[in-house]
Amino acid sequence: MLKIRGLEKKLQEQLVLHDLDMDVEDGCIYGLIGPNGAGKSTLLRVIAGVYEPDQGTLYIDDHNMQENLSCFSDILLISDEPYYFHNATLCDMKHFFKIAHPHLDEEYYHHLVKLFDLNDQQPLHKYSKGMKRQAFLILGLCSTPRYLLLDEAFDGLDPHMRMLFKKEIVNRLEEKEMSVIISSHNLKEMEEICDRFGILEQGKLITSGNMSERLSLVHRFQLAFKEHVNEGMFDALSLLSISIDSRIVNLVAEGELQELQEALQRLHPLMMETLPVSLEEVFVYVMKQREEERHGDQELVETVVSE
């Protein structure tokens, strides 16, 4: 298990990560979600040992990674801008990766090269952006590290390739003892592939957990009432979002579905419909809630100061 405690990292005097705690269980696909500049790439680089943390500790199976540098051999980072040697082919890069990760699976490599129809003898600089991405995803998967870190993994891939890769990642995880941490902006994809997730905002992990559990605790309801309603009627619910248009109410609330349904039934709606919620919506609601909390805090501070 990969554990991060109290991580802090400054880049060019700017605090990029702070008070960050994170747990990545073995064998999971962890989706790292966050807006631009939240610190996702920095976090992956710290985990890979490229950046040294300013504060905090990283553990693999309770071994402090800073004290046991051999731990880093369990980690492979495929960055958003992968580097390859001058004139190197995919095959050359495979040899290079094999030095760092001697367990690189040659057979699986050839299988993936064939599957994605790449010429591994062609210099990488002649590949398109998407092909380069495929090439490095292949290298990452066949290197079989214990923790594979994919930064903006599916950028530049066409939908078919994305689907193939997602399938391969899942298959590989079933076969090998591997965990994958993926950072991406594409929440829909993350929802499809990840079993755990963490939302990073301003360098801090604001929420994390099991994807399906979390999604099963967030529900959207569409309600119609006989008379006009006001927001106060729904105060008892843990609301993430609410919009009232005369007698029609759209809301997203956190909690067990049955409890929420019972609570809403007590308001005697004419009609109530339960709709599925996507990860993207959860992300947007969480971000919105955080924004409101921040504004609330700011207003409170301003009030206290003015008083």
């Binding site: 060019q12 490229v50 950046y51 880093f72 801008e81 580097y83 760092a100 001697p102």
Partner: protein, 517 residues
């Protein structure tokens, strides 16, 4: 067993070996550059020498005496490689994507540094050895020009083979080359862009030269201020300490000195051997310090700094003030001092803007410049007050003087006197007269009226020269004429207009070419 453990870090593990092999295989550009240097070296230097020698032999001419400087070209290519290879070997630090890849490798950073350092070093050694082969064949095949038996080092190996001489030189050059390579590596790992790397290494290469010349100009300015004599560029005031410092820090000087030591039987060996031994030691110590420093810096390197402005204290933060200070010393105390200080300030700011890649002026920058101006000015005043620690004198002591060369020109009367004086009585007369004419001299070079001037050169018993050049204005010319007339009357020197032979009081004649030393 203990030695074995001590040596262990020098050898590569299987993983490191595999990495090094792969690196060398995929970095064939390095081999191409090395081959190119080799070809240029052979084509441009060795081949013409061989052809000339062959032609001379063919047409019955005596084979030209080879000089050891042919071997010195070896060192030039070693120097080029020592400069280029660190940049190539550690270029991955200057790009974010590549530093991400390399620094995330599961190889201990200290070892990663060592592997890259070692590969560069092996390339340098290979090229040097390959270049040595034609040189060795050239010398061995011809066995010309050098009487090895008469050199100081011949008894060391009891043979007269030039091959051994060149081999020994190769080893010394390689050691110095490795030190230089390590020296540059120390700065390259601190640079975050390639441009910074090239610049910083170039500045460090030129730094001893910059310091030497700026100090020379600075001391010349002071001596000009203190002496009646004009145009007193007394670089000799810096010796012997400054010369030793330059010798210790300047590899081209060393290269030349080593070659001379090995190939010139007449060279004074004691002083040279001691100095060369010292500088080899200095460079070895410097090499060890630089390696440890570079390795430690690499271990704690922040990958996030790549492609960012270079901020390491050993780079721009120290070099900009240092070079500025040297330039402040050069501009001295001339009439345009304020203007020059302003111009230099602009240059100083531009250098800072370049270093930080943004146009921002900090108070600290201005304060440092102010401090540099004040320090250079204070240093100037201090040295003037102390007469450059009493090292500056207008006229040497009589017993120190071996020969006086005197040249008097009075353009007004179209009068010319030139003499080399060795006679003790005459020398004393001249020394006395020298003190008397000082009040009549001027430092103003005038183009409106014809001036007279005296050039006097003292050759001291320690082999050094003291040159003085005096200008006389219209009032001074009268004194000059009186002086010459008096000397003529006393038969000190004779009026001559051909300048070929110059009789002294004794009536001896001396050819200036013989007495020039």
């Amino acid at each position: 067993m203990e030695i074995k453990n001590w040596l262990k870090p020098l050898f590569l593990s299987d993983q490191e070996k595999a990495y090094a092999k792969h690196y060398m295989r995929t970095n064939n550009r390095l081999a191409i550059v090395a081959a190119l240097i080799l070809v240029l070296f052979v084509m441009g230097y060795i081949m013409p020498s061989i052809l000339i020698h062959a032609a001379l032999s063919l047409f019955g001419g005596a084979p030209g005496t080879t000089n050891g400087e042919k071997v010195a070209s070896l060192f030039i290519s070693i120097c080029i490689l020592a400069y280029v290879l660190p940049m190539y070997q550690f270029r991955f630090l200057m790009k974010r994507s590549s530093s991400d890849l390399y620094l995330s490798l599961p190889i201990e950073r200290k070892r990663l540094f060592y592997v890259h350092y070692l590969i560069g070093l092996l390339y340098m050694a290979s090229v040097a050895v390959l270049e040595y082969i034609p040189v060795a064949f050239y010398y061995y095949g011809n066995r010309i020009g050098i009487t090895i038996d008469s050199t100081w080092h011949a008894p060391l190996y009891g043979t007269s083979e030039t091959l051994i001489t060149t081999l020994l030189l190769l080893v010394i050059f390689l050691v110095l080359g490795i030190c230089l390579y390590t020296f540059f590596t120390c700065f390259i790992v601190r640079c975050h862009t390639m441009l910074d790397g090239i610049l910083i290494c170039a500045i460090y290469t030129l730094l001893p030269l910059i310091i030497f010349y700026s100090m020379g100009f600075f001391l010349s300015n002071i001596s000009n201020e203190l002496l009646y004599s004009v145009e007193s560029y007394h670089f000799s005031y810096m010796s012997p300490l400054a010369n030793i410092l330059v010798a210790l820090t300047s590899l081209p000087w060393q290269m030349n000195a080593w070659v001379r030591l090995f190939f010139e039987p007449t060279i004074t060996t004691d002083y040279t051997c001691m100095l060369l031994g010292m500088e080899l030691l200095v460079w070895l110590i410097l090499g060890v310090i630089c390696y440890r420093n570079a390795s430690n810096y690499f271990v704690h390197l922040k990958s996030e700094d790549s492609e960012q402005p270079t901020k390491s204290p050993l780079t721009y933060p120290i070099l900009i003030p240092l070079v500025t200070f040297q330039l402040l010393l050069i501009i001295g105390k001339g009439k345009l001092i304020s203007f020059m200080i302003c111009i230099l300030f602009v240059c100083y700011l531009i250098a800072h803007f370049f270093a930080q890649r943004k146009i921002t002026i900090h108070v600290r920058m201005i304060a440092i410049y102010g401090a540099l101006v004040l320090t250079s000015s204070a240093l100037h005043h201090w040295l003037v007050r102390t007469n450059l620690f009493a090292m500056i004198y207008e006229i040497p002591q009589g017993d120190e003087v071996e020969l006086i060369r005197l040249e008097i020109i009075d353009q007004n009367l179209n009068y010319y006197v030139s003499a080399d004086i060795t006679n003790q009585t005459v020398k004393e007369d001249i020394l006395q007269a020298h003190a008397q004419w000082l009040p009549y001299t001027t430092k103003e070079q005038s183009w409106n009226y014809i001036q007279g001037h005296i050039t006097i050169c003292y050759l001291l018993t320690n082999g050094e020269y003291v040159n003085r050049y005096y200008l006389f204005d219209e009032a001074g010319i009268t004194h000059l004429q009186t002086l010459v007339e008096q000397w003529e009357k006393e038969d000190v020197i004779e009026y001559l207009d051909d300048g070929a032979y110059h009789p002294t009081q004794d009536g001896d004649t001396a050819d200036p070419a013989d007495t020039a030393g």
